[in-house]
């Protein structure tokens, strides 16, 4: 492979993982946009999606005699539904009572929730790596020297579809309009008769469902998951959200893809041992130097 081709191949790999980051980042950014909370538990919700998918695959399709495609649909549907409900439940139990507390109190609770979820995942599925079934065996499209596996194109296309649906929802529906209003000014939205608590629940529902779908894709892409994978992926997705401008939905998509590509290139050309340092370094530098990100506007406290 020529250097240019290697470069492009790394970009493609980065794009795929970036799409997953973008899906998780959407959850962070939607929640931050509306209640200014860094939902630390989101990383765990994300990996819960992968575990739910795995459980569904293990339990249902065999019994129902379904083909691979239907199994896939079922896995996504249940993972997204389960994660969405989990997100709403967490918001109801842990964050809603603290709506009037200082923001740090909420953040500490969020970390607590994330710890509990990690522990629960470990208790249910054990501390060892779980391997994922291989979908789309060995099938790849080759364009000259580049290889794009079916899995990769599946991830890119289905996340693009989900993001487009989300975009349409936020821009074109009544509920989306209410959501935008609430994230602009919660008090004013409440005065206009918008049920802000319900909007917040919807936010958690959509964000967590997208995170769950991302988790399932992550599991299928890497073929193995553990209970603490959510933490690192969560931090990276948060970095992506900040990179795109936190609180900004198209920004999260852009930031995810950008971060994925940067990371792909960094791991490919520099060193993979320090790969995770890049994400943290990018996060620190961004927050210190460019907190508004690509598309966001920074709100001073």
């Amino acid at each position: 492979m020529s250097p240019l081709e290697t470069f492009i191949q790394q970009l493609i790999n980065g794009l795929v993982i970036g799409m997953i980051y973008a899906l998780i980042a959407l959850g962070y950014t939607m929640v931050y946009g509306i209640i200014q909370l860094i939902n630390f538990a989101h990383g765990e919700i994300f990996i819960t999606g992968a575990f739910i998918g795995l459980a569904v695959f293990g339990a249902l399709p065999g019994a129902l005699g379904l083909g691979n495609l239907w199994a896939l649909v079922l896995m996504f549907a249940l993972a997204m539904a389960g994660c969405g409900l989990l997100g709403v439940l967490i918001e109801r139990v842990a964050y809603r009572p603290l709506r009037k507390s200082p923001r740090l109190a909420c953040l500490i609770t969020a970390i607590g929730v994330s710890f509990i979820l990690q522990n629960v995942l470990m208790l249910i599925w054990g501390p060892v790596d779980k391997s994922f079934p291989v979908f789309f065996k060995h099938s790849a499209l080759t364009f000259g020297a580049f290889r794009v596996t079916f899995m990769q194109s599946f991830i890119v296309i289905s996340s693009l579809v989900m993001m487009l649906v989300l975009h349409f929802f936020i821009r074109r529906t009544m509920l989306g309009k209410a959501l935008r209003a609430a994230s602009e000014d919660m008090t004013a939205a409440r005065l206009m008769g918008i049920n802000v608590e319900r909007i917040i629940s919807v936010c958690f529902l959509i964000g967590s469902a997208l995170g769950g779908a991302g988790g399932l894709m992550y599991g299928m892409y890497y073929n193995t998951i553990t209970f603490h994978d959510g933490y690192l992926a969560g931090i990276k997705a948060f970095t992506a959200a900040v990179l795109g401008g936190i609180g900004n939905v198209p920004g999260a998509m852009l930031g995810g893809v950008a971060l994925g590509m940067m990371e792909g290139l960094g791991a490919g050309y520099l060193s993979s041992e320090w790969k995770n340092v890049f994400a943290f370094l990018i996060l620190i530098i961004l927050l210190l130097r460019w907190p508004s990100g690509i598309l966001g506007k920074f709100r001073h406290e």
Binding site: Q36, L37, I38, A94, P97, L98, S101, R103, L104, A105, C106, L107, I108, T109, I111, G112, V113, S114, F115, I116, Q118, N119, V120, M122, L123, Y231, I235, F238, E273, W274, N276, V277, F280, L281, L283, I284, L287, L288, P291, E301
Partner: protein, 346 residues
């Protein structure tokens, strides 16, 4: 609290604070006379080291309101300074103490001077990132830190007039050393908290803009709190490395930082007895529940959530710090009126 509870509370107030402190200290010094169980002392020593850490974190987070999710990095700075000085340069335990405190403090100063332009949750995320970078760096810089295998360092020893008393792996000397270290830390932190600095920190935590308007140099004072907090973590790290005789990156991970935060939250931000009691309780309870070891994170997570939901000021919560500015806090207002009345009478 019911009426009788308040009565009891008032009665305890009549006993001079100093007498209570001396009494507790005496019990703690005499404890090994009654309980020579190595395992018990070992647990108490770990709890003591956590207590110093929580006291240090208390200066940053409890007084000044700077949430630090990478506090383990400063703990690591102290521990690794001793380890590297000992292994590479042959420095002894006692001689390395100033170096450990200074290096951790300098680490805090350097990081704080960049990071403290951020506030609240953004600061928390940056400290988290910093903590992780430190851990990954310790893991990967094999030539200096021994990488994931860690470094084996010398236990401390005392030179008495006629013989050399090596601490070894006996827990007893570490118990007294830790007790002494906690005592020194408590004196430093309590003096700081009642000084101009302490009052300024609390003012910054409550309302930074108002504090700045009153002429407090918020930037410098926040940096000072950050620096002192990290120096105390370095102190604890020094003690930890000497006691363990071994340091490796996994002692300084994200979970350690969160555990310390949970202890601080449990004891009550800004409370010195709270920090110590919480460190003791949250070290001893998981030890007692050893069969339930795999529920550890669950336990710490629950502590954090329950405290934030039902008692955000913590067990020993400095009630004043949290409720001072809330008009509905009737009791505080009454106390304040009484105090004002006394002042006027004098």
């Amino acid at each position: 609290m019911n009426r009788r509870g308040i009565g009891l509370y008032q009665a305890t107030k009549k006993i001079p604070r100093r007498a209570v402190n001396v009494f507790i200290l005496l019990i703690l010094f005499a404890l090994p006379l009654f309980d020579r169980n190595q395992y018990h002392l070992e647990v108490l020593v770990s709890a003591g080291i956590f207590a110093i850490l929580v006291l240090g974190l208390n200066v940053m987070t409890g007084y000044c309101g700077l949430l630090n999710l990478g506090y383990a990095a400063f703990f690591a700075a102290g521990a690794y300074t001793y380890a590297i000085l000992n292994v590479r340069f042959g420095w002894s335990f006692w001689v390395s103490l100033p170096a450990c405190i200074i290096s951790a403090g300098a680490f805090g100063l350097a990081f704080g001077s960049c990071a403290l332009r951020l506030k609240g949750d953004y600061l928390a995320v940056v400290t988290l990132g910093f903590g992780e970078i430190t851990r990954i760096a310790l893991n990967n810089m094999d030539s200096l830190t021994g990488g994931p295998n860690g470094l084996t360092v010398a236990h401390p020893a005392l030179w008495l007039p006629h013989k050399r008393l090596a601490f070894g792996i006996n827990s007893l000397p570490y118990y007294y050393l830790t007790l002494l270290a906690i005592l020194v830390t408590v004196i430093i932190v309590s003096r700081l908290s009642s000084s101009r600095f302490g009052r300024a920190w609390i003012a910054i935590k409550e309302d930074e803009v108002a504090a700045a308007c009153l002429g407090i140099h918020t930037g410098k004072l926040k940096l000072l709190a950050f620096c002192i907090g990290s120096a105390l973590a370095g102190f604890a790290g020094w003690l930890f490395a000497g006691k363990q005789g071994f340091v490796s990156p996994e002692s300084f991970d994200f979970i350690t930082s969160i555990m310390l935060t949970a202890m601080l939250v449990f004891g009550g931000m800004g409370s010195i007895p709270g920090a110590i009691v919480a460190a003791l309780a949250l070290t001893i309870i998981p030890e007692v529940l050893r069969p339930l070891q795999q529920y550890r994170m669950f336990f710490f997570g629950t502590v954090m959530i329950v405290m934030m939901l039902f008692r955000p000021q913590g067990l020993f919560g400095g009630v004043r710090i949290f409720e001072e500015f809330r008009p509905e806090s009737e009791r505080i207002r009454q106390e304040e009126d009484e105090a004002l009345g006394e002042d006027l009478r004098q």
